[in-house]
Amino acid sequence: MEFESVIGLEVHAQLKTKTKIFCSCSTAFGSPPNTHTCPVCLGMPGVLPVLNKKVVDYTIRMALATNCEIERESRFARKNYFYPDLPKGYQISQYELPIARFGHIDIEVGDETKRIGITRIHMEEDAGKLTHDPDRPVSRVDFNRTGVPLMEIVSEPDIRTPEEAGAYLRKLRSIVRYIGVSDGNMEEGSFRCDANVSIMPKGSETFGTRAELKNLNSFKHVEKAIYYEIERQKEIIGDGGEVVQETRLWDPVKNVTTSMRSKEEAHDYRYFPDPDLLPLVVENEWIDAVKAELPELPDEKKDRFIKAFGLPSYDAEVLTSSRELADYFEDCLKVFPNAKPVSNWVMGSLLGLLNTEGKTIEDSPISAHDLGHLLKLIDEDVISGKIAKTVFDEMAKTGKPPKKIVEEKGLVQVTDVSAIEAVVAKVLERSPKEIEEYKGGKTKVLGFFVGQVMKETKGKANPKIVNEILRDKLG
């Protein structure tokens, strides 16, 4: 039987606020354990949580960026469970009345654009960090992270393949970074993903029993874990068995998912409205104010790059994958306003360089300004395209501006006709065999002569002039 998989993702993005969601403690990462706490986030009796306005601002921003409807009134609820990373015995979250619903984003898989629905976005607090002692039966608890604001984004079960799941996540991450509400760093845990995976006979309208996958802390793991899980479920059903609804943990070393909780421990969170927190009312004026400050989103930027600069869709997609890269590209254009060559250099040499050095565009050793000037030097025939690559490598190494490197290393292109003629004469003199071939109709040999002249001039001769002179001399 042929199967179709059904995937829904739950993403937790840590919001980039200075302070926690319900108290004035710092959200800074990496401080000594339990130094960013107060009676509120330690869950002392009698304290009163007060909502951080910026958390709401950021969540509205995300809701708008993902085409959600924003609820005029939403509410916070207590999700009750006992686990030592949660000092109060409940997590403050939103349940039956989340702040936003009914959104969507578009993803590109292959040549196709696909719309993935967003079921809801809500705000909640993060839990503390547990460290399990390897030798003794104890765990240590650090409450610094307790109360750090999270935004949970729940997708509709519209995703069908691991690749689509990856594309959806990358797009979501790109959006949170564009609008500046989260770092979106999966490895450091500021962007986390759980996946609900089930399979059903192809064309069926009834979903199968799903498993929830956890511990997916990189894009690669998300795709691999989902792929593994689909295959596992196919095997079970193929053998006449039944998939059990459960939570499964991805093991990135063994590349398998393993059962985490048994069915008997099914959750019973006993949600109820938190009486300590007032209902949240978001009026249209607030939404309009946030909307007015919303930056250009990835899809809008991509469209503009295609329309305004005439770039191919692929170039526009790559260049707008992060706001920083898009800014770099546009900064380059300010110096050298010719989009396609800039795009080629940024996507080719520059991204290649960053990739090799393991750097991001923000700490690129070559500034957008300098790269623009390098391209200008090519365009103005000061250097050849070939020499430009040498200059580029030197810029990466030394951080010097291109003009200075060209001057210091004497790389200025030779456009002096008589100088080039002299070199051409020298090359022709020593190649009687090739001249004969050329005259015999083998015009491809021209490339040989050009190569020889370039070699003699260490790549500095202007190729256009070289070609002209050669054709002239060879008749």
């Binding site: 339990n34 706490t37 909502l51 006993r270 009486p275 007032l278």
Partner: protein, 95 residues
């Protein structure tokens, strides 16, 4: 409203309470009585009344995103039965 023994066992498990047979029976009957008392509320006519989660008609209490002083660690850990290197120490929760 009656409450079954199994419901008491379930609620006790969720609250991490260990209970013997005798107290299960006792609590089943006591919780049942409390719920019956609360059921009295059902006699009130609530036609046209929206579900209420808060008794006061206030909305939107906010704080600005400004950092204030933290509790010093000594005090944060003062009530902890066990502590180590600035951490709370609890029985291991994952096998």
């Amino acid at each position: 409203m009656k409450i079954t023994k199994n419901e008491v066992i379930h609620v006790a498990a969720l609250s991490r309470l260990d209970m013997n047979e005798e107290s299960i029976d006792k609590f089943a009957s006591q919780i049942g009585t409390i719920l019956e008392y609360v059921d009295t509320l059902k006699q009130v006519d609530t036609e046209g009344v929206k579900p209420t989660s808060h008794a006061i008609f206030l909305t939107n209490a906010f704080r600005e995103d400004e950092e204030k002083e933290h509790l010093d660690r000594e005090n944060a850990l003062a009530n902890a039965p066990e502590k180590e290197d600035g951490n709370f120490v609890v029985p291991k929760v994952i096998a």
